[in-house]
């Protein structure tokens, strides 16, 4: 019984982590069609921002939930103005330029922080569940992921700015003729996506030893989750994170964590071969 509970917790945690990892990319790639290969590095920078802030004596939750997204959001703004702005609509070029950016960030962070592992301890203690020890921080991740999904849904569905952003992504000319400035909306949407990536990196930072190249570990997962999700932003994110998180944890428990990772990737290839346009192309078509 306890064992089953532990597995349920782990599966929920895996799904929550995938949602967090992919949320920023869902905005930047899913909505804006910018293939952001620097997504992992945005997350890595969010992690470093958190660790630096905590070392300077800032409260860890403040650093994770406010400071890191703000820092990475501002960085995203700068990147958008300098590079991405010139490349909208050129899918392959955005991909190459952001790959260049990711290398650049890795290099700069290595020069500043050194090629060593840094980290902070998890701020929530673990507890015993029957014979098993459970990491209390996992619940926090699940909570943040759920809150994030609801927040995104609320903003995109029920606020005026969400509506304007969605409309601009569908038809920039139409939005412009209605008096909204697409350039500005693109800029702000990109910054929001970057901030989400920063948040994800910050929240996951206590669980991983952070190195400048940590971003590479997230990027493939984020992309397959967003692409397998398909056209509906939030329903797609939730459903594909659910499928992949489940598969990953089942194989991790049954065989080993490495096999779990490989199973996730194989599942992604098979799923994309069967549903090339993603899950929400067939199911939940009308949802957001």
């Amino acid at each position: 019984m306890d064992f089953i509970l532990v597995i349920v917790v782990e599966v929920l945690y895996a799904i929550g982590a995938l949602v967090l990892i992919s949320a920023g990319l869902a905005v930047i790639f899913g909505m804006m069609r910018v293939i952001n290969l620097a997504h992992g590095e945005f997350m890595m920078l969010g992690g470093y921002a958190t660790i630096t802030a905590v070392d300077l004596g800032v409260n860890v939750f403040l650093a994770m939930l406010v400071l890191a997204p703000a820092v990475v959001g501002v960085l995203g703004l700068v990147v958008e103005r300098l590079v991405i702005r010139h490349l909208y609509g050129r899918l392959i070029d955005t991909m190459l330029a952001t790959w260049g950016l990711s290398l650049l960030f890795v290099g700069i962070v290595t020069m500043v922080f050194g090629n060593t592992t840094t980290g902070i301890s998890t701020p929530i203690p673990g507890f015993a569940l029957g014979d098993y020890q459970v990491n209390g921080y996992n619940f926090f991740i699940v909570l943040v992921a759920a809150a994030l999904l609801f927040l995104m849904l609320a903003v995109l569905r029920s606020t005026r700015s969400g509506l304007i952003a969605r409309g601009t992504m569908q038809h920039a000319d139409m939005a412009a003729s209605l008096g909204y400035n697409p350039d500005r909306i693109y800029m702000l949407t990109f910054a929001c996506g970057s901030a989400l990536s920063g948040l994800a990196g910050a929240v996951l930072a206590p669980l991983v030893g952070l190195v400048p190249t940590s971003g590479g570990a997230y990027i493939a997962k984020a992309f397959i989750t967003v692409i397998a999700g398909g056209p509906a932003l939030i329903a797609g994110l939730a459903s594909s994170a659910g499928v992949f998180g489940l598969i990953n944890q089942i194989f991790s428990f049954a065989v080993s964590p490495v096999v779990g990772e490989v199973a996730l990737l194989v599942a992604a290839v098979v799923l994309l071969r069967l549903l090339p346009r993603g899950i929400t192309d067939r199911l939940f078509r009308e949802s957001l």
Binding site: I35, V83, H86, L87, L91, I92, D93, M95, L96, A97, W99, G100, L101, S102, L103, L104, F105, V106, G107, I108, T110, M111, G216, I219, A220, F223, I224, I227, V258, E261, V262, L265, V266, A268, V269, L272, R273, P276
Partner: protein, 347 residues
């Protein structure tokens, strides 16, 4: 006409290659040059698939690594290098044919293609990293996990396992291989297959409507690129004398794409020059500690995408043309002067 153009290009390529192969060892050590030549071949493989086939493969490193691993494993089991070299071309090609057929008959394009090739590379990378210990053995070869496979039979004269090809002779062998591959690629692109491949790159729907079997042709193109990358991998294994999972890494795939972009897509010589030039730059940068290597390669990639998306080769070609054509152009007004007045007189 076409035959004449081909023979002139053939002569030109051979002369230029002979000069380059002969002169470069005076400037750079042949040990470094060998790896530059091998990377040039790897760049050419993606230059063919991406620049002419229009297939952006994020996983060219997978075929490179697969070629290297195939060579190493086969060389340990066989103890002579001829068959392993052939296998190192055949196995990546076969793998690419399977993968390509799955992708192209599934009508996957651009982003999805990129992501799946990327994921396949990651799977191989993860898997190879996890193969430590005595459970993972192929024949006599232990896969060795993170540490890779050292100590295999390196290249030898066919039939004589004791007479190794190494040092200077390995360099000349690699250069000859690159030249051969380059000429084969040129011939392929001049054939009707190559021209149709470019047609597919330009407009897939149009090519399909004209009755060409697009998925089959793309699969063949993909396979050809993988075979070249596999050969480059085998040569790399011979040069490094060890194969490690790093060959499958994302950084390796990124490098290959950067070479093609910087050198110039849609040209044959561009990716070769881009690969050799940037690898040499990386080698020089590795000797100083001030700026991290990836800062430079990242900045180069961003700047090229923003300001010179066509790469260096077209710029060089234009410069060359303007140099060679300047003289006739200066003379031509004088020569044409009387003729044009005559023409106007006629009118």
């Amino acid at each position: 006409m076409r035959e004449a153009g081909w023979s002139r290009e053939l002569t030109g390529t051979l002369v230029a290659a002979a000069c380059a192969v002969g002169v470069l060892p005076m400037l750079v050590s042949t040990y470094t040059l060998t790896v530059l030549v091998i990377y040039g071949m790897l760049g050419l493989s993606l230059g063919l698939v991406w620049g002419f086939g229009g297939i952006l493969c994020f996983g060219q490193a997978a075929f490179f690594g697969l070629g290297a691993y195939t060579y190493a494993i086969a060389a340990i089991n066989i103890g002579e290098s001829t068959v392993p070299m052939l296998l190192a071309v055949a196995i990546p090609a076969g793998f690419a044919a399977l993968l390509g057929a799955m992708l192209f008959y599934g009508r996957l394009t651009d982003v999805y293609l990129g992501v799946i090739t990327l994921v396949v590379t990651l799977i191989l990378h993860r898997f190879m990293n996890a193969t430590a210990g005595s459970d993972y053995v192929i024949g006599n070869a232990r896969l060795g996990g993170f540490n890779g496979i050292p100590g295999f039979q390196t290249l030898n004269v066919p039939g004589h396992p004791a007479s190794y090809v190494w040092g200077d002779s390995l360099y000349y062998f690699c250069a000859a291989c690159l030249l051969l591959v380059y000429l084969l690629v040129s011939a392929l692109l001049r054939s009707s297959f190559g021209r149709i491949a470019v047609g597919i790159r330009e407009n897939e729907t149009r090519a399909a409507l004209m009755g060409y079997d697009v998925p089959a042709r793309k699969t063949v193109m993909f396979t050809a690129g993988a075979a070249i990358a596999g050969l480059a991998g085998a040569l790399f294994a011979n040069w490094a004398e060890i194969v490690t999972p790093r060959l499958f890494s994302l950084g390796q795939s990124a490098d290959i794409i950067i070479w093609c972009i910087v050198g110039g897509l849609g040209t044959r010589i561009g990716p070769v020059l881009g690969a050799a030039g940037l690898s040499y730059l990386k080698f020089l940068l590795g000797q100083q500690g001030l700026i991290h290597n990836s800062v430079v390669s990242g900045a180069i990639l961003v700047l090229f995408v923003l300001f010179l998306p066509g790469g260096i080769a077209p710029v060089l070609a234009n410069a060359w043309r303007s140099v060679t054509q300047r003289r006739p152009r200066r003379r031509s007004p004088r020569r044409r002067g009387p003729r044009s007045s005559l023409a106007s007189g006629d009118a």
